[in-house]
Amino acid sequence: MKLHMLILGLCSASALAFAAHAESITIATVNNGDMVRMQKLTDDFTSKNPDIQLNWVTLEENVLRERVTTDIATKGGQYDVMTIGTYEVPIWAKQNWLLPLDNLGADYDASDIIPAIAGGLSVDGKLFAAPFYGESSFVMYRKDLMEKAGLQMPDAPTWEFIRQAADKMTDRANGVNGVCLRGKAGWGENMAFLTAMSNSYGARWFDEKWVPQFDQPEWKNTLQSYVDLMKADGPEGASSNGFNENLALFQQGKCGMWIDATVAASFVSDPKNSTVADKVGYALAPDNGLGKRGNWLWAWSLAVPAGTQKAEAAQKFVSWATSKAYLELVASKEGWANVPPGTRSSLYNNPEYQKAAPFAKMTLDSINAADPTKPTVKPVPYVGVQFVAIPEFQGLGTTVGQLFSAALAGQMSVDDALKQAQDAATSTMKEGGYIQ
C-alpha cells in the first residue's frame, strides 16, 4: 500500500514538474471550419511535442486583424502564432514584423507548396507565412438550371456568357436568381470580387506612378456591367450580401450561378446543408478575352511574429499544422473532402482527394491562373490580385467598397461612385506620399 502511494506521489510530482517546464504558445485564429478542425486535432501535436502547450484565441476576422496589428506594432508579445492573410504578409515582412520560416524541419517539403500561394507569402525568396488553406475564386453553377436554359457552361466562360446564362436562368416566380455576387461593402467583401473582376476588364487601382485609375473607361465598364447584371439577375437586397449570405442563397437553390471563393465548393456540395449538393458544376472565373480572368488568390496562413520569445516552439507548431502529415491526419479522421485545400501540389495529385473533391482540378487551375505580381492586363506598381498590398488599402478599399455598394443599391449613379472613388483614392495617395 505504501509503495503504491509512493509511486502515485512520484507520478503526481513528475506531472507537476513537467507542467511547470512545458512551454505554452498562444495561437490567434479565426473561426473557419478548417481552423476549428485544427483545434480539435491538436492532441496529435501535443503528443508529439509534450513540452509544448497550446492556447487558442479565436476572434472575429476584423477584430483579429485589429488585435494582431496592435500587438505586433507595439511588440505586445501576446501571440506566438498568428493567422494572417495574403494581404498582410508582404507588408508585415517588409516592416520586419515577422520571422522568416527557416526552421520548419527537414521533412517539411516547402517546395510542395503551390507556387502561386508560396509567391504571395514570400518576400525576397523567403517564406514569411505558411499557408494553412488557400483559395481562388471560380464559378459555381446549377447544372440542372443550365440544362433547362439550353446552355452548356464552358470550362472557361466569358463575362458575356455569364450575362446571357444569368438572364436565361433567372426565374423570379420560383425565387431563382440568375447570379449571386458579393455586394456588401468592405475591402475583403465586395472589393475582393470587384477588384478581381476589374482585372479581367483590364482595369487597375493605380498606374505605374501610383495615380488612381477610377476615372478610366475600364473601371466604368467593370462597375456598369456588375450593376447591370445584378439589377437584371441578382437577388433582392444584394448590396447587403457577402460570402455567407450568398452561400445560404445558393444552398437553398436560389442562385443559378455564384462566383466566389473556391472553398465554398465544399459547403455547396455538402448534402447535409445544401439542397443542391448533387447539382453543382464548376468553371473558371470569367474573362473578357484580355488574357486575365476575374479570379483572386488568398491564403489564410500561419506566421510567427518577430516579438515572440518562443520562436522555436511556434515554428514547430506552424510546421505541424501546414505539413503533408497534417493533411493525412485530417483525411484519416474526417475524410479527404475535409482536408484544408489549396496549399500543397501533392494533394491535387492524390487520387483519393480527386475522388472525394470533384472541384479539386478546377480549384488548382483557378489558383494557378492568378498571379499576384501581374494581377491585371496593364503593369502595376503593387502586389496583390484582389487587393493592393499597401497599408492604406484596408481603409481605402472599404471606402471605395461603400461607394460601389451604394451604386448597386441605387443610392448613387455609377459615374458618381467612380468619381468619389477617384477623389478618395487621390486624397489617400497624396496623404501617404505616393503622389504629389
Binding site: N32, G33, L59, T74, K75, G77, Q78, N244, F267
Partner: protein
Amino acid sequence: MARTVTNRHKTIATAAAWIVALLIFFPILYTIITSFKSEQEAIQGFNLIPSGTLESYSAVEDQSGYFKFFLNSVILSVGSTILALIVAVPAAWSMAFSPTKRTKDILMWMLSTKMMPAVAVLFPIYLIFRDFGLLDSRVGMTVMLMLINLPIVVWMLYTYFREIPGEILEAARMDGASLWGEIVYVLTPMAVPGIASTMLLNIILAWNEAFWTIRLTTTNAAPLTAFISSFSSPQGLFWAKLSAASTLAIAPILIMGWFSQKQLVRGLTFGAVK
C-alpha cells in the same frame, strides 16, 4: 367619472409599459429563438418559430470551454465592483456631506471621461498594460473595468447619499462615532438599497463590457464577451451558433437581474420622486 379616467389611464400606461418592455426585450428574445434554429433557418429571414434543434448548443459546447470564460466574467465583474465601491463610497460620502465649491465641477469632470470614445485611448492603455505586464491578466482587467465604471458608481452613490439627512450623521458624531464608524455603521446601513442597486448595475455593466475585454485579453483573463466574439465566421454560416453562445453568455446576468429586479428598481428610482 374620475375613477373611469384613472382606470383608462392605468390601462393605457400598463399597455404602453408592456409595449416598451417587449420592444427592449425583443432582441434578446430573438437571439434566444435563433439559438434553437439550424444555421440555414437562422439566415433565412424573420421567423419566430424555431425548429427547436439543439445542434448549435452542442457545437458551442464542443468548440470551447464555456466555464473558463464564465469564471473570468464572474471574477472580473464582481472584483471590479468591489474595488469600485471601496473607492467610490468614501468619494461620494465626501462630496455629499462635505461639498466644496468645486464638487459639482469634479462630478461633471468624472462623468465627462465617459463621453470620450474608448478607441481614442486604445494605444496608450495598451502600451501601459504591456509595460506593466498586465495584458491578459485578471488583475489588470479588474482595475480597468473598475476605472471604466467608477464615474457612474460615484454619481449614483452621491445621489443616494444626498437623500440621507446630514443631521443623522451629525447625531452619530455627537455620540462619539469616528469617521470610519460613521461611514460603516450609520451611513452604509441607511444607503444599503442605493449601494445594492449600484453594485448590481456595475456588475451588469462590467459583465457586458466588450471593447476592452476583447482587446486586452487573450486566454487567461478572457471573459464571456471574448467567448461570444469567437463564434463569428468569415466563411461559413454562424448566426445560430453565435446566438447560442450569446444566450449562454447572457443567461447568468439575466437570471441575476430577474431575481434582483425589485432591488434594482428600488435603487434606481431612489430619490426620483420627492
